[in-house]
Symmetry: C2
Subunit: 346 residues, 2 copies
């Protein structure tokens, strides 16, 4: 048997903000049969993750392509790998059987052929929607959890600032921080997002950064005594403004710098004199380095989800053809929470 | 009895590179008597430290002035405190007696009246010249030791880059790094300094940054496989170039950014995408936070000095009137090693 697999690819490298025209929906036939002993698995993709860092992989030159296994360059015309959840269609790997629900490195398409050694694990949905396992209980969740707890080492009562706070990672950082008794302020790019942060997610304060003219004074207003922890998702001028407002021994987890992804000339030039005198730590990190705490993260987050102490925030589009638009929306601030594309029903 | 105390002060705040004309040598009478029970001590200054950070204290506005006890603003016309070594002339403090050799917060002058609570300790010269206790066995030494060992957490075989490497802190960082088996490259601003680093201080390599046109390629040449540790004394473009050349899990100790002290508009705008993908840590620090390891630092460094494994590098000028010139020389790269002014013979 054969199926038609539709998948999304880039036409050429993408060096600025992505546009619909940079993408192409391709189709190819996939034989639903495997060579005996091949150890391969064919997965029908159900939910796939839409992440800002993919843009760095689409660039014609990206330093990230040299320094991380998570970020090898995307080749125009080829399928684009991504974290996702799917269902086994056929398996020559003894670890998996037909109809197993699995999570791992799939792609922006309808089917994935997983080669031996490919990242794939059986998934226990634990009663949650499968999409949760792509976001809040997947890498976005781990990023927030590891970045906040392991990198920032927060203490009760500390003052925390999060950028892109209504995003997938950001909203969770804020929720984790509230749970351990921190004071949390988030910024986001619309009035509705600001309301959501304060009213639904329990942030102490939130502001629309697009309405502010002087970010340094804005942060001074929200943190008159300074910031202990800045969880940076955006980089550039927001990072500079945060550093000016950091307290002594402040910590910055540099999770992402989305405002710099679309514009290589845009960078933070923070005052290093402040960094020295205030003994600030600026730490880049990748969630993938923290797989050792995945179990801990998962059980904590699952429990909080069950008791309602953590609220999921998802933004789901339907169908493989919606992937380019879903991806582009990240750079336009059009998503609220974890951006996911549901490729097929279970 | 009364003595004339000559001391150096600034005429007005200094906001750019310092010039001789920014300074003034003043004189005032100091009564060599103290009120009984005053707990005060009068010290005759012998050797005083000349440090780059003083410029930040001279600025009309400096963020450092708000964030560190070590860096309160200097008031034009008033004496300028500094670390130094002196001799007790008269004491109303039961901890000190006439003729005690002491180290602590003195000033750029001939005498210091130490108020109760002022930073002063008896000094055991341990057979070393008093100047050593201002530099290599004083704060410069502690800065290098704490910054390198505590902040950078080096491992044998790691590749270390040090800027301002012929300076007081930098030369010691390189020497400590060699002692634990690191590969060390330093940069400095003249051919003679480069020769000194390689021939006298045992650096593996050194280069004159003033002769390089593209610092990123320069560092790539010296570190084809990348830098594990960058000990930053200068900031700006050198920091940017180092970050491009860092390895995964690289660490940057931001000790000082002298090239930014004289020009507030000059800043590093490092690629945060590199910081994330390479999980780089950028950590500002102050030596004053590491007084808890002073004893450890002192005994280690003393032993290495005695066995000749660490070589002292000092640059001494004579007389209180030479202070402005000595200070200015730091920003012109005219010092080699620890800049000290010997105010008087013991
Ligand atoms: N280090 C890691 O292991 C790791 C793992 C996952 C994600 N990340 C990083 O974490 C960050 C957040 O990722 P996410 O998956 O949670 O995405 P997300 O926050 O859900 O989506 C991106 C959000 O960024 C904001 N944004 C877009 N362009 C911006 C700009 N120019 N300036 C300021 N804000 C902008 C938008 O919200 P607004 O309405 O606020 O503008 C947008 O909704 C990204 O930088 C990503 O690369 C890192
Ligand atoms: N964090 C702390 O606790 C702490 C404590 C002490 C010192 N520090 C900092 O550590 C650094 C070194 O201090 P130090 O006392 O050892 O001084 P130093 O290195 O002995 O003297 C300063 C040296 O910096 C170099 N320099 C001057 N202007 C420069 C420029 N524009 N670009 C590049 N290099 C320049 C010069 O050497 P070249 O020939 O190489 O140009 C000069 O000799 C300073 O930034 C200082 O503020 C920090």
């Amino acid at each position: 048997m054969e199926v038609i697999n539709r998948y999304v690819t880039i036409k050429t490298h993408v060096d600025g903000a992505p546009e619909e025209s940079d993408f192409e929906l391709k189709a190819s036939a996939v034989a639903l049969s495997l060579e005996p002993g091949s150890n391969e698995v064919i997965v029908k993709n159900l939910c796939v993750s839409i992440d800002p860092y993919q843009l760095n992989r689409m660039k014609s030159y990206s330093s990230s392509q040299k320094s991380s296994d998570f970020a090898v360059g995307i080749i125009p015309g080829e399928a684009i790998d991504t974290y996702g959840v799917g269902k086994v269609v056929i398996s020559e790997n003894s670890e998996f059987e037909k109809d197993d629900i699995v999570a791992g490195l799939l792609n922006w398409g309808e089917y994935t052929v997983i080669k031996p050694g490919g990242m794939l694990n059986k998934l226990n949905p634990m009663g949650f929607p499968l999409s949760y396992h792509v976001g809040i209980l997947g890498f976005s969740g781990l990023t927030a959890y590891a970045g906040f707890f392991e990198v920032c080492k927060p203490k009760r009562g500390e003052k925390v600032f999060v950028s892109a706070a209504s995003g997938s990672v950001g909203n969770l950082v804020g929720q984790y921080a509230k749970l351990i008794g921190c004071y949390v302020v988030g910024c986001a790019g619309s009035k509705d997002k600001v309301a959501l942060l304060k009213e639904k997610l329990g942030f102490d304060e939130a502001f629309n950064y697009k309405e502010e003219t002087d970010l340094k004074s804005t942060l001074k207003r929200y943190f008159p005594d300074g910031i202990d922890i800045y969880f940076d998702n955006v980089g550039a001028e927001m990072q500079e403004a945060a550093i000016v407002n950091m307290k002594i021994h402040g910590r910055i987890a540099v999770c992402g710098v989305i405002s710099e992804y679309t514009d290589a000339g845009k960078r933070a030039a923070p005052s290093m004199i402040e960094v020295i005198y205030k003994r600030i730590k600026i730490q880049g990190f990748l969630a993938g380095d923290y797989l050792n705490i995945f179990t801990d993260f998962l059980s904590t987050t699952r429990d909080h989800l069950r008791t309602g102490k953590i609220k999921p925030l998802e933004d789901i589009s339907d169908g493989v053809e919606s992937i380019p638009c879903a991806f582009i929306s990240l750079y336009r601030g059009q998503n609220i929470g974890k951006k996911i594309v549901k490729i097929a029903e279970e």
